[in-house]
């Protein structure tokens, strides 16, 4: 045990003496948290829309106003022709175009049915899908009102229909930051866990001190513990720090017991540290270790449901995420903070995490041969 104490003392001295480490631990996370929270904003509001009104009647004006009053769309231009609107689409000025055809009002009354056209710039597919969805809803609402007004249709006279009502739970204001910030915290903790720990071990290899340690009676397990424990502590500290910043700056909701977040993070970090350790056993230089870690992390993070929901992956990819530790932590931290999930809800995920930790660290330790 005393050996570990000396190893820890040495690691902390080295970490805090390294001038580039302090900003990495304290400054970069805050900047990252702030920038990412504002940048990673998929809140689709104020989409710019072109309305080509070839009818020019009262109803088409009402439809236009209803769209722009919704908060989702802001009117960009009202070009005279579809061609002109296309140019706006092309230049990126407009995200979508609503084309109201000539004789809109007349055809609606005469044929009981009329089509309006929505052209959506779909290069960003998810944005386009939401934009079309919003616009469709607004047009549907408008349609209902027109019916009521024009036909003075009583509810009782209408054919049988479903009355669907919606409730948005846990985030009624649809604040996207509440959703993103906990996820970003996961990224921060992950970076510290996997990147720094791996590089730290490889550094000893690179400067040759590892050989000196290998001839000492230090046990494998002590050495590894001494190497990983500091980053475990720093990462947990980082989490507390990030949560505080999140609370102060974004007024992040903390519905559940924050203790569960820390408990889960503690287990999750064991997995990430194991990953760092494993990578350090197969690399010789810090550069290599950084590249490889980066490669894995970017896949883990992109497939974690952090930025794009897991629900939008094909089933085979959803299955793969069952092996992605980042996905579990992202899910759990959001569950606890936004929905107030407790022990009964997270215990299964915690078990999975511990299983990962044992497996990864097992492989890493087995791979890490003291006799080089």
């Amino acid at each position: 045990m005393r050996t570990i104490f000396f190893l820890l003392q040495k690691e902390f001295l080295q970490i805090f003496r390294n001038r580039s480490m302090l900003p990495i631990i304290f400054l970069v996370p805050v900047v990252q948290l702030l920038v990412l929270a504002f940048a990673a904003n998929y809140e689709i509001k104020n989409l710019s829309i072109d309305v080509v009104d070839q009818d020019g009647g009262a109803w088409s004006r009402q439809l236009r106003d209803k769209l722009t009053a919704s908060g989702y769309f802001s009117l960009y231009k009202q070009p005279a022709s579809t061609e002109a609107a296309f140019e706006d689409l092309e230049s990126g000025g407009a995200d979508l175009v609503l084309v109201i055809p000539r004789h809109f009002e007349r055809d609606l009354v005469r044929h009981n049915e009329v089509k309006v056209q929505l052209l959506v710039n779909a290069i960003n597919g998810s944005k386009a899908g939401l934009a079309a969805g919003y616009a469709g809803n607004i047009i549907g609402d408008f349609n209902r009102r027109v019916r009521l007004e024009w036909l003075a249709l009583d509810e009782d006279d209408a054919p049988s229909h479903f009355d669907v009502s919606y409730r948005y739970w846990y985030n009624p204001d649809m604040n996207y930051k509440f959703f993103m910030v906990p996820g970003i915290l996961v990224v921060l903790v992950t970076m510290i866990g996997a990147f720094l720990s791996g590089m730290n071990i490889v550094k000893e290899k690179e400067i040759g001190t590892i050989e000196q340690l290998n001839v000492t009676p230090i046990k494998k397990i002590h050495f590894i513990t001494g190497k990983l424990l500091p980053f475990w502590i720093i990462a947990l500290f980082e989490l507390a720090f990030g949560l505080t910043v999140g609370k102060l700056v974004f007024d992040l909701p903390m519905v559940g017991n924050i203790g569960w977040v820390f408990l889960f993070a503690a287990a999750y970090l064991l997995v990430m540290l194991g990953l760092g350790l494993l990578i350090s056993t197969i690399t010789e230089t810090q550069q290599q270790s950084m590249f490889i870690t980066w490669f894995f992390l970017i896949i883990f993070i992109l497939m974690s449901g952090l930025f794009t929901p897991i629900e939008s992956m094909p089933v085979w990819a959803q299955k793969i995420t069952l092996f992605n530790p980042v996905a579990y932590f992202v899910k759990v931290i959001r569950m606890v903070m936004l929905k107030g999930s407790g022990w009964g809800d997270i215990s299964y995920y915690l078990g999975v995490m511990l299983l990962f930790a044992v497996a990864l660290n097992g492989i890493a330790v087995w791979n890490y041969r003291k006799t080089v």
Binding site: S20, E43, S126, F162, Q286, Q287, M290, M335, L338
Partner: protein, 368 residues
């Protein structure tokens, strides 16, 4: 000139001997594109829902069947009462709860109006909205089935046309993004690291006392990386075209030239970084924090620029990747020519010249 080629060859040896790094350099774009292309779609798949069916008549059961028959939803569980809703959400897998009230069929046929309640877990607001859109349209279809041909009078229907990317493929957004990222990684990060490595190992001094001019040394070091990054860009384009049928609507020549231009911009950034740092680790950190992160965050690659606060949008203008991304999307997907993309092109040229000028100044200060 011969000495120069000897030098270039030495640099190539360095690159090709480090198999692991090379594997990652070529493997990363492939994996990223495959992931983005296949794994990240804009449809929902098998979202787990819970059903609270208080009516339990054949009509409510048919509605649930209809929901699950689509690939969009699977029923995770049936709830027995309202008190079960909250725990279902809290457990984490259930994203939506459909509540069908008592006397569902009776209400529909006799009262002409049956209520359905959709509760969503809006901790992810966008997914919640999407789920409701999907569920709503399926409920409407079911309604149509029940009422038969009977159509509501005065129907305004929206006909949606997805322009530039009719099938909503995510890969269209990501191919340009990955390309930007990789070019930045190879050209800027690798060069800055390789130059500082020579400084660190002391081999730079040996090179500097050789009869080669310093400009030649730097050129010799970066040329292999230009070639490498160009190769990778070609691979990404080819993958995009063949595997994902991503079109190159504009001129291919223009596209390739723009790739080289951006490669040069990234390179000049790499040289700039190496001129202000002395250790590999610092170079790595600066490249990672100063180049890679902004490239990912603020280039419009992953996150739409327009939903960012104004301040970030302004900052994004200083990021070369943003302009390159615009060029790529315009040329590949919209089929624009130089006439339309001259502005971002000019900006990239300007940035390259600026970075080179600054780094030459820095080098001179160092030498004198």
């Amino acid at each position: 000139m011969k000495q120069f080629f000897v030098f270039v060859r030495k640099e190539c040896y360095h690159i090709f001997r480090d198999k692991r790094t090379l594997l990652i350099l070529f493997g990363m774009p492939l994996v990223l594109i495959v992931l983005f292309g296949f794994a990240i779609t804009n449809e929902i798949h098998h979202v787990q829902i819970a059903v609270l069916d208080q009516s339990r008549d054949s009509y409510s059961q048919r509605l649930v069947q209809k929901m699950t028959a689509s690939r969009y939803f699977t029923v995770n569980r049936y709830l027995s009462g309202e008190k079960d809703i909250e725990p279902a959400f809290r457990q984490g897998d259930v994203k939506m709860v459909m509540v069908i009230p008592n006397r569902f069929a009776h209400d529909f046929f006799h009262e002409k109006k049956a209520a359905i309640q959709l509760l969503t877990d809006a901790s992810d607001p966008n997914t919640a909205t999407t789920l409701i859109n999907y569920a709503n349209s399926m409920i409407m279809q079911y309604q149509q089935e029940l009422t038969g041909e009977l159509k509501l009078p005065l129907t305004i229907s929206g006909e949606v046309q997805m322009v530039y990317n009719p099938s909503l493929k995510g890969v269209f957004l990501f191919v340009p993004g990955v390309m930007t990222l990789i070019l930045m990684l190879v050209s800027a990060m690798m060069t800055s690291i390789t130059i500082t490595r020579e400084k660190e190992l002391g081999t730079m001094e040996i090179l500097l006392v050789s009869p080669l001019k310093p400009v030649m040394i730097i050129a010799g070091k970066v040329i292999p990386y230009i070639v490498l990054s160009f190769l990778i860009a070609l691979i990404i384009l080819a993958m995009g075209a063949w595997v994902f049928a991503m079109p190159v609507k504009g001129s291919l020549l223009l596209l390739l030239l723009e790739c080289i231009l951006f490669g040069l911009t990234a390179l000049s950034l790499g040289i700039l970084i190496s001129s202000v740092t002395n250790s590999q680790q610092t170079a790595m950190m600066i490249s990672l924090m100063g180049l890679m992160l902004p490239t990912i965050l603020l280039s419009g690659f992953v996150f739409p620029l327009e939903s960012m606060p104004k301040a970030l949008q302004v900052v994004a203008n200083a990021i070369p990747a943003k302009w390159f991304n615009i060029i790529l999307k315009d040329v590949m997907l919209k089929g624009m020519g130089l006439r339309q993309v001259w502005m971002p092109t000019l900006i990239l040229c300007g940035m390259t010249v600026f970075f080179l000028a600054v780094s030459i100044r820095k080098f001179k200060i160092r030498l004198s």
